[in-house]
Symmetry: C2
Subunit: 126 residues, 2 copies
DNA sequence: CAAATACATGAACACATGCTCATGCATTTG
DNA sequence: CAAATGCATGAGCATGTGTTCATGTATTTG
C-alpha cells in the first residue's frame, strides 16, 4: 500500500485539544460535502463575472436604475437586465420600482463585505 | 432626460468628508475598471467549482498526495490532477515531490481565510 | 532492464454561460 | 387611446469549462 494512509490521521485534533471554538468555525470545519460544495460554487459563480462585479462595485456606492447601470458600463440594457436577474436569483440585490424605472441596490452589508474582502485580498499580494 | 442623472452624484464624498481611511479601503473604493474586474472574476472562477472547493477543504486540514485526494473525492486521478493544475496556476496551492508522489498543500493562510470567509457567510444567512 | 506506480497532459465531448436580437409587458406621455 | 419609454425575457449563437480517455514521463520495484 503505497498511499500515505491519510485516513490514519483523522484523529488529529490539530494544535492541542481545544473543544471550545466559536460557532462559525464549528459549522465550517472539515471537508465539504458535495451538496454544500455545489451551493458554495453556485454562489461564487455569481460573483465570478466581470460584468456582475462591476455592477456590484457601482451599487456599493448608491442605487441605480437599469439604464444608468448600462450606460455606466457601456453595455446594452438587455445585457445588464440579464445579469441583474442572476444577481436577484442569488439574492445579492434588491430592487424598487419607481414609475417605469427599477432601482437596484445591494441586498445587505453582507454582499458588500464579501465583495470588498475579495477585492482587498487581490490588491494585497503578488 | 428621464435618467436619474447618476453622474450628478459623483462628488458625493459619502458620510461626511473623511479623507483618512485605511489603505485597503483606499485601494478598493469606487467602481471597478474592466481589467481589475476581469482579474477578480478570474480568481473567483477558480474558487467557484465544487471539486476545487472540496480539494481546498481537504487541504485546509493537511497535505495530501494526488491519489489520496482523488479517492477522498471519489474521482479519477486524472480529473483531480487537472483541477490541481488550475489551483497551481492560480497560486492557491503548492506541492512537493516525494518519490513518485506529489503532496499538495494550500499556498498560504490567505487562501484558507478567504475560503473560510465565504463558507461562513453562506452558513449564516437564509 | 522490465513492469508497475503516481502523476501530468492533450484531445474530445457534453454542458454551461454571456451576449445579441427580437419581442413582450407595464407605465408614462401626448 | 396611441406612441414612447424602461425593463424583462426567450431563443440562438459563440465561447468557455470539467470530465473522460488515451498517452507520456519520472520513479520505484522485482
Amino acid at each position: 500500500m503505497p498511499h500515505s494512509s491519510a485516513t490514519g490521521s483523522l484523529d488529529s485534533s490539530q494544535e492541542g485539544l481545544c473543544s471550545e471554538r466559536h460557532a462559525a468555525s464549528l459549522a465550517t470545519a472539515g471537508p465539504l460535502a458535495v451538496t454544500e460544495a455545489q451551493r458554495m460554487a453556485e454562489f461564487l459563480n455569481v460573483l465570478a463575472d466581470p460584468t456582475r462585479l462591476r455592477l456590484i462595485s457601482l451599487l456599493a456606492a448608491e442605487e441605480y436604475c437599469v439604464c444608468d447601470l448600462a450606460s455606466n458600463l457601456g453595455m446594452t440594457d438587455s445585457a445588464i437586465s440579464h445579469q441583474l436577474r442572476a444577481l436577484r436569483a442569488a439574492r445579492l440585490v434588491t430592487y424598487r420600482k419607481v414609475g417605469r424605472q427599477v432601482f437596484y441596490q445591494l441586498h445587505d452589508h453582507h454582499v458588500l463585505e464579501l465583495y470588498q474582502t475579495v477585492r482587498e485580498h487581490l490588491n494585497e499580494e503578488s
